[in-house]
């Protein structure tokens, strides 16, 4: 009893104050530990550079110029259209590449013949950057949507395949032994043991794939497009509209980070057992 008395505040009226202090502490810790401080810090430096006019506006636009360029693009309708076009390219390319990557990764991870036939070739393809494929894509698929899907899905496919394959290779032997000694059929072992055991790796690959879909999006839109964030960046270069470029780059960054966050959260829900 004496010990507990020492720990509780002397009067019950004061009980609220420590709680508020505690909440403020948590909020402060979240802000300082989170991205807000970092963004404010960079924005502060950027504003200072803009206000002091250290660099010409055409080379390095101030935050307010970038903001008004954003508003301008939004009001004339190009921004919404570009976003829609780019996001659907990234999404279609991602879905194509990721599903092919997972499917082939499961096969090369499981079937020795397919592994022998394909792995060295696929490994050789991995270092080829997306942008280097653009000329080939244009010859094969023209300057329509096909070449964009091809460049994006190719990049996503290789990464997702690679991670899936490795996830399959590192399925712990104990799981397989447990499954076999419990009389599981090959199919049930594959569906309910091998795939879940590889799932954390597969999701790591998918998350990387999402990031790469965004990275290769701009490269894909260099293959002759008439809309999309990548195209708009090209166009801004022709008119030396650095304010628009900055706006588009920031939007690209924010979009990528948001999608990554969403994918990360979905992954955590789906492979909930990996957290400990």
């Amino acid at each position: 009893m004496a010990v507990t008395d020492l720990q509780t505040p002397p009067t019950s009226e004061n009980g609220l104050l420590p709680q508020i202090k505690r909440l403020c502490g948590i909020a402060a810790a979240t802000l300082t530990g989170g991205p807000v401080i970092s963004f404010l810090f960079i924005l502060g430096i950027w504003s200072a550079v803009g206000a002091l006019q250290i660099l010409p506006e055409a080379i390095f636009p101030a935050p307010w110029s970038v903001w008004s360029a954003t508003v301008e693009m939004w009001q004339n309708g190009t921004l919404a259209k570009d976003l829609r076009v780019s996001l659907s390219r990234a999404a279609i390319g991602f879905v194509l590449g990721a599903s092919l990557g997972v499917a082939l990764g499961l096969l090369t991870g499981r079937v020795a013949v397919i592994r022998t036939l394909l792995n060295p070739f696929l490994t050789l393809l991995r270092p080829i950057p997306a942008i280097a494929l653009v000329p080939v894509a244009i010859v094969w698929f023209g300057i329509g949507e096909g070449s964009k899907y091809f460049v994006i899905s190719y990049t996503v496919f290789l990464t997702v395949w690679f991670n899936t394959h490795h996830g399959m290779e590192y399925v712990p032997e104990t799981y397989l032994r447990a499954s076999r000694s419990l009389g599981a059929s090959k199919l049930r072992e594959f569906l309910t043991v091998v795939i879940p055991a590889a799932a954390p790796h597969i999701f790591a690959g998918i998350r990387l794939g999402v990031a790469l879909a965004f990275l290769s999006l701009v490269a894909a839109e260099l293959s002759g497009a008439s809309s999309g964030i990548g195209y708009r960046l090209q166009e801004a270069r022709q008119y030396i509209r650095t304010d628009r470029m900055f706006s588009l780059l920031i939007i690209l960054g924010l979009l990528g980070a948001t999608v990554d966050l969403i994918v990360h959260h979905i992954g955590k829900k789906l492979v909930h057992w990996e957290q400990s």
Binding site: A178, S181, L182, A184, T192, A199, W273
Partner: protein
């Protein structure tokens, strides 16, 4: 009872197991003959790396014999089967299934209705005192509880033989004692033939009907004890024989003694 006693007879005849190491073949198990009689509890004890796990893995069908045969009830063992249950030191539970889901996994092959399957899985968890934790995931359970789930999962589908590879090696001493009682009570109910690999002499003497001691690598069986003391055993109550055997085994396991033998 008589029909039960005819099932689960493991016969290991002239078995050797060699692996291809970096410097040529390595003998993991030297010529071994052993009979595990139906419904008996055999402890296999030996220094680490002596090949006791190799012998166990061969009976489990995970490792091929280089020569000789292993048969269960007269039928040669060619691969893992649901007649031989295995309990691993690292539990081998699937972290993506709950405790109940893990037990149900082993019941799938019986083709029960869903309700019946759940009922049986629950009953198996109740038997090991985990009925209240059926919906927890393995990573939410302590080491002792995980191993209880594994025991429930394996016994639930009724294997004839149960292989346990240092199953309590990762647990603290107090939890081990509780697990010993639990294992004996579940085993006495289901009566599988048990092969229990351990390097803990006391554990072997408290649990087993037969204790077999293995030499250092290349492993072979060098001593055999039959224990008839009533269970539950303790060193203070189960007579001085147990202590004498304990001293002998500890002496056998000493590297110096092995060179003489």
């Amino acid at each position: 009872m008589t029909t039960m006693l005819n099932e689960g007879h493991v016969r290991v005849q002239d078995v050797t197991i060699r692996f291809n190491g970096k410097k040529g073949p390595v003998i993991a198990l030297d010529t071994t003959n052993v009979d595990l009689k139906p419904g008996t509890f055999t402890a296999l004890i030996g220094p680490s790396g002596c090949g006791k796990s190799t012998l166990m893995n061969a009976i489990g069908g995970f490792v091929k014999t280089s020569s000789g045969t292993i048969a269960l009830d007269g039928v040669p063992i060619t691969g893992p089967s649901d007649k031989v249950g295995v309990i691993f030191q690292q539990y081998g539970l699937f972290p993506w299934f709950t405790a109940l889901g893990n037990v149900r996994f082993g019941l799938k092959r019986l083709g029960l209705s869903k309700a019946e399957e759940i009922d049986r899985a629950r009953a198996a968890l109740d038997e090991v005192g985990l009925g209240a934790h059926a919906d927890k995931y393995p990573q939410q359970l302590s080491g002792g509880m995980k191993q209880r789930v594994a025991i429930a999962r394996t016994f639930a589908f009724g294997p004839k033989v149960l292989l346990m590879d240092e199953p309590f090696g990762a647990l603290d001493a107090q939890t081990r004692l509780v697990m010993h009682d639990l294992l004996l009570s579940v085993w006495q109910k289901h009566r599988a033939t048990v092969l229990f690999v351990t390097h803990d002499v006391d554990e072997a003497l408290l649990l087993a009907d037969e204790v077999r001691v293995m030499s250092q690598a290349p492993g072979r069986l060098i001593r055999h004890y039959e224990l008839t003391q009533a269970r539950p055993r303790t060193f203070s109550r189960s007579g001085s024989d147990l202590l004498t055997i304990r001293d002998e085994i500890i002496d056998l396991l000493r590297p110096r003694a092995l060179i003489d033998a």
